[in-house]
Each structure stands twice: as C-alpha cells, then as structure tokens.
C-alpha cells in the first residue's frame, strides 16, 4: 500500500471538508448576526421587521432571560366551606342547601363552584355598595385592598391587566409561581361604575417542574411573532401594549397538564403567546 498516496488523498478530502464546514459556519454566523448586535440595534431591527406587518411596539422590552422549567399542574380543589370562610366573615349566616350543593348564599352574595378549581362569587349589590365600591381614580388600589381582605388565596396572585369599556371595568390578576405569572390561572374581577359585581377565580396546584431551560430573549420572541405574521399573512394595524414572561397552556386535561414558559405579547388585535423555548407562536385568551 502506498501510504504517501493515501495520505495525499486524505489531505485533499479533509481540506475539502474543512472548506465546506467553514462555509457552513460563516453562513450560520451571518444568520445569527442579529443576536450579537447591541440590544438597541437588535430592538431597532425587530421593530422595523414588525413595522412591515403594521405592528408598532409601545411596550418596554424586558431584558431578563432566566432558566425556567415546564410546570406540571392540575386544578387546585376548592370547597364551599373553605371559600365561605375566606371570602365572607365567620359570623355571617350561610345557607347550605345540601352536602352535594355547588352554590351557597349569604347576605354578602353567592358562591358557585363552576368546575374543579374554579369558582364564581356574585356580590350582593347592597353589600357591594357599602364595602366594594371604589373611586375610579383609585380603583386598582381599592380593589386590591378589598381582595387582600376578602379574596381567596389572593397573596399568590399579581395584577395582569385592566380593561375598561364605558362604565364596565375588568381587572385581571394571575396566580404566580416563583414570581412569574401563570397566565391561565386567573382571578377576574368585574366592576360596574367602580362597584364590584362578581369575581371568577381559577387556581392551579403545581405538582412538579421538568426540563429547565434558559428561555429565549424577548427580542427573539418578537422576531418569532413577526415570522408568524409573515406566514399567516397578518398585516392589519396593530400595537404591542405589553410584553411579559410567565407560564401558559391552552392544552388542559383532567389528569393534569403541563405549562410552558411563554412570552405573553399583548396587542390591540389580541394576545400572542410565544413559547419561550421553541419560539412557537399562538393566539390565546386575553
């Protein structure tokens, strides 16, 4: 065997391979160049990308990229007894229609368990007029004070959004896990002329955490959104009002389910949830 010839052949092959791999690496660097730019440049690039789809960015862009897991959750069971003692004073006289009942009434209003882990409280208008009416200018603070006193497990919730339509106000709070909001575990307060009408609340139990990963940057979430709009041919005028990192899933089962870390991008057309690991975009509940 002529080792000299074999060696020459191997040199030629590896030279070719190195040229090919070098070209591939150069292509990769070119493709990801946006991520090595300063944040302000990245933001400017993404803004111009979004502008091609009629989207204006009017929200501060967070800079954090923590490590977050997928959360294994199920509905946190609620009982009428537990709810009545949390929402109403102990001294109040509660009407118990029966052991299997899903609704109880008292002079404060009624509580109905709508499904496991979810309940709705309707406030008696006379009680609400005295105890749960807040001046419009200080509505948020007033409502929060009320819920600290009369809410169920309210300490684990944080405010997400307030929507105003004429005299009707809807304030949304979400349960949090390690300081990050769970966008699908909500406490929604419905008010009319500043007076609390009803509360709908959902609570989750976190059973475990899996697959911790460093989440993508909000810039790449916005880039994903731009590409999603490109693919879906979405070009209607739109404004981004809020960008937040948290957990969400629209896939729910009676046997427990998993929440993904997501970037929630609130826009005037709707709310987009961008998976903070895979970059997949979906439209979800506001």
């Amino acid at each position: 065997m002529d080792f000299g010839k074999v060696k020459a052949l191997l040199i030629a092959v590896f030279l070719g391979l190195n040229l090919f791999l070098g070209y591939q690496w150069w292509l990769l660097q070119k493709a990801v160049a946006v991520y090595s730019q300063p944040l302000s440049d990245q933001l400017a690039n993404v803004q111009s990308e979004l502008a091609t789809h009629g989207v204006t960015l009017k929200a501060p862009v967070p800079e954090n990229q923590p490590v977050m897991p997928q959360l294994h959750v199920n509905y946190s069971p609620v009982s009428l007894r537990g709810l009545s003692s949390a929402l109403w004073p102990r001294s109040v006289r509660v009407q118990w229609p029966g052991l299997s009942a899903h609704v109880i009434n008292s002079p404060f209003g009624s509580i109905r368990i709508t499904s496991p882990g979810q309940f709705m409280e309707n406030l008696n208008p006379h009680f609400a007029a005295r105890q749960a009416k807040f001046p419009m200018k200080k509505l948020s603070q007033g409502l929060q004070k009320y819920l600290i006193k009369h809410g169920y497990n309210f300490a684990s919730y944080q405010q997400l959004a307030t929507y105003q339509k004429g005299s009707q106000t809807t304030v949304i709070y979400v349960q949090q896990y390690n300081g990050y909001p769970i966008f699908s575990a909500r406490l929604t307060a419905y008010l009319s002329h500043g007076q609390l009408q009803s509360i709908r609340q959902t609570s989750f139990n976190v059973l475990g955490a899996a697959n911790p990963r460093q989440v993508s940057s909000p810039i790449s979430a916005l880039l994903s959104l731009s590409q999603y709009m490109d693919k879906a041919d979405l070009n209607a005028d739109n404004t981004i009002q809020d960008i937040r990192l948290g957990y969400y899933s629209s896939v729910i089962s009676d046997h427990g389910w998993y929440l993904a870390p997501v970037w929630r991008i609130d826009t005037t057309l709707g709310v987009f949830y961008v998976n903070a690991v895979t970059g997949e975009v979906g439209v979800g509940v506001a």
Partner: protein, 448 residues
C-alpha cells in the same frame, strides 16, 4: 561522496515532506472537528420559530393543492329531455371537467332577489350542477374552480349550476342561490368542449327525483350495479405524526388520559392519540382564540389547512373536501373524506378535520388508518330508489330528510375492511342511519 550527499539530501527532504504532510493531515482532522463542534453548538435556540416541514415520514400521504382537494362530490346532468343523471366526483369525467374549468374565468356576480322576475332555482331546462361535500360551501371556495375570479364573501351555497345560452351553446353562465337571492355570472374563456359535459356518458347513473312529503329525494332510477370490495388497511406510525407537530420533541411530556388514550404536550401544543377498533386516531390542539377585527376568507383558511396537512403527513387515500363550517368561536373547520369509485365513503377511515383561526391551523383530528390495497371485489345489484322506499316502509321513511348512496365500512379484522354499498338516511332529529343498498336491511358502521 557527492552522490551520497545528494541521496542523503533527497531522503531527508522526502522524510521532511512526509512528516509535514502527517502533521498537516492531523491539523486538518482537528480543524474539521473544531468546525463541527462550532456549528453543532453555535445554532442558537432563538432562531427556531416553527418547524416548516414534515421530515420524519413524508411518504405517508400525498401532497395536494386546493384545486386537488376542493372537488365536487358529484356532478348532476339535467338533460333537455328532463332526465337526471349523476356522475361521481372522483370519475375521469369530473377530473376532466375540473381541469377545463381552470382555464375559464367567472365574471362579477349579479344578484336577483327571489320573485317574479328572478331566475328559477333549480334552473329550468338543461343544466350541469356541481355538489360539494355533504353540506353547503362558502362562495369564496367556489372561486378556486376558475382562473382569476374574485367574488365577495356572500355566504354559503349548496350547488353550483352551469347553464348554456339557448342562442349560442358555447356561451355559459353559472348560477347559485344564497338565501333569497339568486346570483349569476358569465363564464368567459371556457373551452368549447365544456358542452360535452351537459350530456350523460357511460359513467353516469340515471337518477329519479322522488316526491317525498314537502321535498324531493334524489335516488337511483333503476337497480344499478355497484361493487362489494375488500381492502387491506395501512397504518401511519403515531410517533411520526407526533414528531412532525412539535418544534422540539425533547420538550415532550406525556399524560395517560385513559387505557386507550395518551396526551403528548410541550405546553403550547397537545396531541392525544386514541386507539380505536380501526387503529389510531390523533387530535391536535393549540391556542385557538381568533384575533379581533381580522377576517380571513374561507379560501385563505382552506389554503392554510391544505398546506398544514401537506407538511404533517400529507393526504391519505383519496381524501377530498367534504364540509366547511364557521364555528361561533370564530374558527373555521374543514372536513375531508374519502371517495371510492366516485361515491362517498361512510365510516371512520381516512377522516380528517382541520380547524383554522386567524390564518393559522389550530386543530387537526385525523384517523391514522387508511385504505391500503384492494384485494377482492364482486358486483352487487342495489335497490332502486322506489324499491328502497318500499322496503323501508312508511314507519321508517316518515322521519327521513335526505338519502345518499355510498360505501359503508365493515371491519373484517385488524387489517381488513369490506366496503359495502349502503344508503345513508339523514333523519329529522339530525341522526344518521345506514341500510344495505342491496337489501334495505340495517347496516352498522362499526362492523365486526
């Protein structure tokens, strides 16, 4: 001495070149490893947006375009001699007609409110009608039949009629009814050969319009001959389909929902796989809230659905569009079903439903079992329309709203199915019954 030195010099040089070559080769090998490592680790997760294509098992089904999928289930020919004929949507005649229509352009529509001066529906005189699926179709989907046709989203239609001008048979008009308005449009650039489709051919089955209560049933005029067919069943491996749906399969978590049902989810998307008597079925769901004030036509939504199916396993069997429904949630749902010899296939095989919201696919439900090879067939004479009505008797026929002829699925074993000619009876309470087309005896789709 000089000669020895030269020899020595030459050997040294050769040895130096050999050693240098070895070092260079080692360096090249190491460099290739470094490049590979750089490329492997250098792909940032941020660039993954959505996996655009199905790569794990693309050969399961066929890639189709809207034109391939949006086909009529049946053509109806009403002759100048007042005879009615049905031609199957999957027949050669129907395929030829569809390709000829692609060359024609339908002009803008003119509406005529129903009344004395409005054109009659169904039209009087000779016509050719196209019926799509088992229900009504959005008018924007009809645009895809023609070239450069642009209509507004007016609503849904059940049949599209083609008429010829009495003075010039090569001039065509199309017409359909939406609510209390009849719409008409002229067809231009239609090939001259279009007129051949206004006459029945050997693929046409004579039909009768049988008065029935306040309505008319369309049923075979005479005892037609159909076939009883035996087919093998083919299965798509669920893992291929699951892998195609998730951007990062390493993020997959599983939840057992029941003995026969598993849920695969990454938090953003969920796929449940259910084991049935006919094999596996999958249901895919993701966020499905429609965007405010964003309207997509049914045609754009069907385009998104077809593209999604192409990228996730392709169309199995001979699936064609069968139904479109606009859901109250703002979603649009499209169903596709199989056709055999130009007749509808009734049963769970090859079923496919795709939901679209805001221009993106948000749900897909499909059977992973489909017809493989035909292994046996025999001819079978079926009951004519009047014979069927007689066999059913007054008690059974009282609650019928419509009757369709097709093939019912009868499972023989895990991987064999028999396709039997059956009449599908739609009843007043929205339930569906099947009877053997040969005898009128009750037929159960679950078979076995």
């Amino acid at each position: 001495m000089r000669r020895r030195w030269r020899t020595h010099d030459g050997t040294l040089l050769r040895r130096l070149i050999a050693v240098g070559g070895t070092i260079f080769l080692i360096l090249l090998v190491m460099m290739s490893l470094v490049w590979s490592a750089l490329i492997w680790s250098g792909t940032p997760s941020e660039v993954s947006v959505d996996r655009p294509s199905f790569y794990s098992s693309a050969s399961n089904g066929r890639l189709r375009s809207i034109v391939d999928v949006f086909k009529p289930h049946s053509l109806w020919v009403w002759t100048s001699g007042n005879e009615l004929f049905r031609i199957g949507g999957g027949s050669k005649t129907a395929t030829k007609l569809m390709s000829q229509l692609q060359a024609a352009t339908a002009l803008s529509l003119t509406g005529y409110p129903l009344g004395r001066n409005a054109p009659t529906m169904p039209p009087s005189g000779q016509y050719l009608a196209l019926r799509f699926g088992d229900g009504r179709v959005p008018v924007t989907l009809l645009m895809s039949l023609f070239k450069e046709t642009n209509w507004h989203d007016l609503g849904d239609v059940s049949s599209l009629f083609f008429l010829t001008s009495t003075s010039d048979p090569s001039r065509y008009t199309i017409t359909f009814q939406i609510g209390k308005t009849v719409f008409r449009a002229a067809l231009i650039h239609a090939p001259r050969t279009l007129q051949y489709f206004f006459s029945p051919n050997d693929q046409a089955t004579p039909y009768a319009q049988i008065p029935f209560g306040k309505q008319q049933l369309f049923l075979p005029y005479s005892s037609a001959v159909m076939r009883v067919e035996e087919w093998t069943l083919s299965q798509v491996e669920p893992s291929h389909m699951i892998d195609s749906i998730f951007a990062d399969p390493t993020m997959l978590q599983t939840v057992r929902l029941s003995k026969r049902q598993m849920l695969y989810t990454d938090g953003s998307r969920g796929v449940s796989v259910t084991r049935t008597a006919y094999g596996n079925e999958i249901d895919y769901v993701t966020n499905s809230t429609p965007l405010n004030h964003v309207h997509f036509t049914a045609r754009a939504a069907l385009g998104a659905a077809v593209s999604y199916v192409n990228n996730h396993g392709g169309f199995l069997g001979a699936q064609v569009f069968s139904h479109a429904s606009a859901l109250s949630s703002g979603r649009m749902e499209f169903s596709f079903s199989d056709m055999i010899d130009g007749w509808s296939l009734f049963g769970p095989l090859d079923h496919l439903t795709v939901g679209v919201a805001s221009g993106s696919v948000v749900s897909m439900s499909r059977s992973l079992t489909y017809l493989g090879k035909e292994i046996e067939q025999r001819k079978q004479k079926i009951l004519s329309g009047t014979q069927l009505i007689e066999r059913l008797g007054e008690n059974q026929t009282r609650s019928i709203t419509s009757i369709s002829l097709g093939y019912g699925e009868r499972l023989l074993s895990d991987n064999h199915v028999q396709l039997v000619p059956v009449y599908q009876l739609q009843l007043h309470n929205h339930t569906v019954k099947y009877v053997y087309a040969a005898t009128g005896a009750p037929f159960s789709l679950s078979g076995v």
